[in-house]
Homo-oligomer: 389 residues x 2
């Protein structure tokens, strides 16, 4: 196991009706003038925004609003949010929505405290300071409610990039599984795929002797394998929603990834898909991850056999572990199909002729590599896109 | 799943040589005058105390020392520590040792900020304020490095009681698995048993539909089943030590216990054993837990069958799940024996004639109950002690 630090100081408030405590927690974490940041009409139509506002008003907390966050959130709205916060003297940002609203809120929070262009953070500068952020989560997916990460898309060239820093970890996150019950099945499944992908990026590692994090990763995956089909069959299954929602946080606050090298090639390869076609990130991952697995599994057949046995319930083929490894990948694909996810370019609506553009935009050139399990060059990434056709 | 809150804001620093960063983290979390609190001679003899002092000196942090913490730490030293801190103007307490040193440090930290008798907190008052505490952990066991709990024994009557509060969660905890390599095998095994017991107290619940925490609990147990025999066989196996040490934190910062009713009867039943005979808490748990399981398993045979299959690798007896449930308990006992733990009064050195005294000291009277999985009255507790003979 490698040396590591782990710090997850977010206060999590989980369960039914908890959105009504938003005001209480904004106050507890020092907010007096809030920017409520959200996406489209669903948080308005459902009455969620009104309940959140009422809970702020109950605590005499002032607020301004900025809606309009899109999936794959854009830099344009971030600039607008930064200006609004400065102009209004906002001291706390409350994201109401999914990963997009939260990531956009984090970008604004960092931008307000920075003299330069906030995009610098998305080109590698570590975020050292930010306004405090709180969240009211409406979809189990990105894990942004418990992470120090944010992903933003720059309109100019549709560049999708990530930034990190302890300063943007939410002070509190309110997770009410009821709020996810009205999601379309496709979004639920895409979110679930994103959660599983966060675990898989950590699971495929060259670090040896990491049983505790292996087992914790498998625990999350086993939970998803049981619970996701249940919510697809019955969107109102609160308990299944609850198990998925907590799994989504644990999958990405890095508890299950400490002390081990992590990969993250698939996320980067996917980002080019969702940036180009504006598809759900989770749906893109459903297309890319099995292709990545098929391309790299020979690098560590035993690790692929392990996940096949422990998560997918395959029988170990002791005479030929490769058979088991491949069976695990096949079961993962079957699972994705069963919950309504696309598993190839065709099903996603992506085009073969765009592959060179996506490879180019990843910016690896001829020498750069992506991922750590098996470092990939541009030509490898191209092969993975082709395996996903 | 029940509503819950989860807050684990401790900064964890994990790995080789990390004790040399103690000064850095004391400074980061605001300490300028430290009480170094520790137990017996081993932290002195090993040179650990010198390394910690050197790291404080490097940051120009002043310190005073208070050693002498015993296993099952006593109230007398806590009073002494409180006086010393007030007298010396201490603003940060650094525990160097295991759960005993940390629990004693937490009690001192709470006592310094309280006008009354610190023992009030151990009779039910919630700890609202405390000096900041940091830890350098030397044994994987109590989980106190990541918890808001402390257990202290009052000399007068040898009363062993617990207190809780967010204020006593450590600001940082330094976990270097190398520091555990010199522990005698018996202490390693007792610590491991304590870790497993922390998970089991959470696992046996009446809350339905808690797959994610079930699976996370099982992940910790599976890790222990693999790694503990390896460190008993080879005390210098760093990676096995590391997996156990991180498992010990995750087992007790409550991540794996949120959203579900927890039991904790066995811990209380055991406390009377370790208070009376001054035996290692983990060894007492090895005696009590299988007896408790045998007494209560019929309350939920399927849950006992689940752990038997998922953790102990038993084949499910579909015609008669009770057979599987009992086989799981038997395998747990075999495991405890294999790592050198006592599993009955005789092996522990406890006496049948003391049972009435221990039952009496639990203070349940004729109507009080203990635990939530199957609430136990005094007569049930007596039966459990007798099952452990």
């Amino acid at each position: 196991m490698n040396n590591f630090t782990f710090y997850s100081p977010t206060y999590f408030v989980f369960g039914k009706n908890t959105e009504n405590q938003a005001g209480h927690y904004v106050k507890r974490f020092g907010g007096s003038k809030v920017l409520i940041h959200f996406g489209g009409g669903s948080v308005v139509r459902s009455g969620l925004l009104d309940r959140v506002k009422a809970s702020l008003e109950k605590e005499n907390i002032k607020y301004v609003e900025l809606g309009g966050v899109q999936p794959n959130p854009r830099s344009g709205l971030v600039y607008k949010g930064i200006d609004l916060c400065k102009q209004e003297g906002v001291d706390f940002i409350l994201a109401v929505g999914g990963g997009s609203a939260i990531d956009s809120a984090k970008a604004i929070a960092a931008g307000v405290k920075y003299d330069g262009d906030f995009w610098d953070f998305y080109e590698g500068k570590v975020i050292e300071d930010a306004l405090p952020v709180g969240t009211v989560l409406t979809i189990a997916a990105a894990g942004s409610e418990g992470s120090g990460d944010s992903v933003i898309t720059k309109e100019e060239g549709m560049l999708k990039r990530g930034a990190s820093g302890e300063a943007i970890r939410p002070k509190f996150s309110i997770l009410n599984p009821e709020l996810t019950q009205t999601l379309p099945a496709y979004q639920t499944a895409a979110g679930a795929t994103d959660i599983m992908a966060h675990v898989l990026e950590r699971y495929f590692t060259n670090t040896q002797e990491v049983e505790v994090t292996d087992r914790l990763c498998e625990a999350i995956l086993l939970t998803m394998v049981k619970e996701v089909p249940r919510v697809i069959a019955d969107p109102n299954n609160y308990d299944a929603r609850a198990n998925i929602m907590w799994a989504g946080m644990v999958a990405h606050n890095n508890l299950v990834g400490v002390g081990r090298e992590q990969d993250w090639a698939s996320h980067n390869i996917e980002h080019e898909l969702s940036a180009l076609y504006d598809v759900a990130h989770g749906a893109g991952l459903a297309v890319i991850f099995p292709a990545w697995m098929t391309y790299v599994y020979k690098h560590d057949v035993n690790r692929f056999a392990q996940i096949a046995v422990r998560v997918w319930g395959c029988q170990m083929n002791f005479a030929n572990p490769e058979v088991t490894a491949l069976e695990g990948i096949e079961r993962f694909k079957q699972f994705l199909t069963s919950i309504g996810m696309p598993i190839n370019f065709k099903e996603l609506g992506a085009k073969e002729e765009d592959i060179p553009v996506m490879v180019e935009k990843l910016g690896l050139g001829t020498e750069g590599t992506l991922g750590s399990f098996l470092p990939l060059k541009s030509k490898d990434v191209e092969q993975i896109y082709r395996l996903a056709l």
